[in-house]
């Protein structure tokens, strides 16, 4: 589980959301993204985007299952590359 502060101007827009969903889909375990009291399945780009994550928001990413560390690393890379 790790926390991300969103700093990019557009928030978590379609491109990074799509990349996150792609990574999550390839993973056998579960990936959850939590903003405030709402939690969604990160395998769905629509669910991720339905959180409406904007600049200044903090989110919690939770990866559960075998090999979760590897997936966490990959997800962190995506967040980094989009300036979060």
């Amino acid at each position: 589980m790790f926390k991300v502060d969103i700093n990019s101007e557009n928030g978590l827009h379609a491109r990074p959301a799509g990349m996150i969903a792609k990574i999550a889909q390839a993973f056998a375990g579960e990936v959850k993204i939590k903003k405030g009291d709402k939690e969604v399945d990160a395998k769905s780009i629509m669910s991720i985007m339905s959180l409406g994550i904007q600049k200044g928001d903090s989110i919690i990413v939770d990866v559960i299952g075998m090999g979760s560390e590897l997936i966490e690393g990959k997800l962190k890379e995506v967040f980094d590359s989009f300036g979060e």
Binding site: A14, S50, G52
Partner: protein, 552 residues
């Protein structure tokens, strides 16, 4: 046999079977057996996925992003679960379940505060309708794999980008005017196009003939007529062959005065076409298209690479790049201009750029950097006053200093607002060139909306008031000794050409498909014609203008 009149927009004759393209808005609910509908849904989903995968392989950068997003949305678990839930709970048809699931999710987005997320609702509706089309066997533009005539109420720029000349032999719409983006693309591709045609009684598969010259569409023609048009079409193709002689020839008037025949382009593909047709330069590179069909503005690097590529294609020939002209009829997902009662009189082009400098500065930097690779000139659209011009020039100067670029850069403006034409003697002292944009100049001079069918009779460049503004601009440019070009539709009109060269135009910028024709027309007229200038000055109506031009 049915004959329908239309307004001719792009030249040529097209013959083929009717393809009726409809954008649906709603789907009705029907009772159905859940298991069957589930099966149908799965089937449609799979074949759409396969289609998108194939599309992705062929997609260029611009399209790739959209296709990728659509692929992800189509296999999204949230969407999928929602469709199955509706199918089970409501025992309805698959199309309705897809429609409703799409609507429900779109609504979540629609209700968000942030504009960006709000606009994603459209993508979701778009993708759900793609699946519905698959379910109902509706035809979509991407599916066209045979020679057809495309009939549609209206085509959006994104539809137009998908047009394939190989299959689309002509376009017929009920809405959309002479200068819509679809029109621009059709002209550049050389696809015949008629608009404002009544589309009732046209069925998919009907044989159709579209003729620009006759301003009509003929549905289910009899054999004699069909043969007549087939031979007319062949004749036209013969003429095109004759024009090939003008490939690579110098652009000269009859009395041997060089007048550049430039080309208007929107992308790299057009630039290649301009080069193939041996255009003497690019008179107008519309950069709006770089910004469209995507979710965020192109970066400086992306733009730099693109401009550089176009300059390299043109191998040292002049490339006039117009800074972004958005607003009016051109909207972008990620730029919020707000709702305006009169968008054509509102935040458009340079007005927006000077207010929201960020996007403008990024483009200017990319242009300045690319200018090292050829003869790049910057052109500002929609200049209405000297103050605007000076503000825009100041930004260029500032960025030039920031980038430490020493090479001087040519700056020019579009003359497309009457105030700029009236003030052209003053503006000429501050720029290196003028390019007259006739489409907007006519619309603003005559206060006639170029998309409004009821006033399209006013919209004409043979109007004497418009011609006076053009002469005024030409005289100012000549007096100041600056380069004078024209890049609107008028530049490619063979009737007005003798007058333009008599006024001393240095450059005519036409669609890529008209370069050779224009070079040929140029070779038939003298550049000195005081008599014509005098007579044109005395013409007081459109009729008299046409008569004067006819008598030379």
């Amino acid at each position: 046999m049915i004959i329908k009149k239309g307004i001719p927009i792009s030249e040529g004759i097209g013959i083929g079977k009717a393809f009726v393209y409809q954008k649906k808005k709603e789907i009705e609910k029907q009772e159905a057996i859940c298991a069957d509908e589930k099966e149908k849904f799965h089937h449609a989903l799979e074949s759409k996925k396969k289609e998108l995968e194939e599309e992705l392989l062929q997609a260029t950068d611009l399209k790739k992003e959209i296709v990728e997003m659509h692929m992800q949305m189509i296999s999204d678990p949230m969407f999928y679960d929602s469709v199955l839930e509706i199918l089970e709970n409501e025992e309805c048809n698959a199309s309705y379940a897809v429609y409703k699931a799409g609507q429900n999710i779109a609504e979540i987005f629609q209700n968000m505060k942030d504009e960006y997320f709000k606009e994603r609702a459209l993508d979701i509706r778009d993708i759900s309708f793609k699946i519905i089309d698959e379910l109902e066997g509706n035809q979509s533009i991407d599916d066209i794999k045979e020679e057809i005539i495309l009939f549609a109420d209206e085509l959006f720029p994104s539809d137009a980008l998908n047009l394939n000349k190989k299959y689309v032999k002509a376009i017929v719409t009920s809405k959309g005017g002479k200068t819509s983006h679809t029109a621009i693309i059709a002209k550049n591709e050389g696809i015949p196009f008629l608009s404002f045609v009544d589309l009732s009684d046209i069925n998919p598969g009907d044989m159709a003939i579209v003729s620009f010259d006759d301003e009509k569409v003929i549905i289910s023609p009899d054999e004699a007529l069909l043969n007549e048009y087939i031979s007319k079409k062949e004749e036209k193709e013969q003429e095109e062959l004759r024009l090939l002689e003008f490939k690579g020839k110098e652009s000269l008037s009859l009395d041997q005065k060089p007048v550049g025949v430039y080309s208007n382009i929107s992308n790299v593909k057009d630039a290649l076409k301009a080069k193939e047709n041996t255009a003497d330069g690019i008179g107008l590179f519309r950069t709006e298209f770089i910004y469209s069909n995507r979710s965020s503005a192109p970066t400086e690097e992306e733009q730099f690479e693109l401009y550089k590529e176009v300059l390299q294609i043109m191998e040292g020939k002049t490339v006039i790049i117009r800074t972004i002209d958005i607003g009016g009829d051109k909207h972008l997902d990620y730029i919020d201009i707000g709702k305006e009662d009169n968008p054509f009189l509102g935040m458009r082009a340079i007005r927006y750029c000077l207010k929201e400098e960020g996007i403008f500065r990024t483009q200017i930097r990319a242009l300045l950097r690319a200018s090292q690779y050829g003869d790049l000139k910057i052109m500002f659209p929609m200049i209405s006053s000297l103050e605007e011009l000076l503000s825009a020039k100041k930004i260029v100067e500032e960025e030039k200093e920031n980038l430490e670029i020493k090479k001087p850069i040519s700056i020019g403006i579009m003359i497309e607002i009457p105030s700029a034409a009236i003030l052209s003697d003053i503006l000429a002292k501050h720029v290196d060139f003028f390019s007259i944009g006739t489409n907007d100049l006519i619309q603003y001079t005559l206060a006639a909306d170029r998309m409004n069918e009821s006033v399209s009779y006013l919209y004409s460049y043979y109007n004497p008031a418009v011609l006076r503004l053009i002469k005024m601009t030409a005289d100012s440019a000549k007096k100041a000794g600056i380069h004078l070009g024209i890049c609107g539709d008028m530049a490619g009109d063979e009737k007005i050409l003798p007058y333009l060269i008599a006024l001393g135009f240095d450059e005519l910028s036409v669609p890529t498909s008209k370069v050779l024709k224009t070079r040929y027309n140029l070779s038939r007229h003298d550049s000195k014609n005081e008599e014509l200038i005098k007579n044109m000055g005395n013409a007081s109506t459109e009729q008299e203008v046409l008569k004067t031009l006819k008598n030379g």
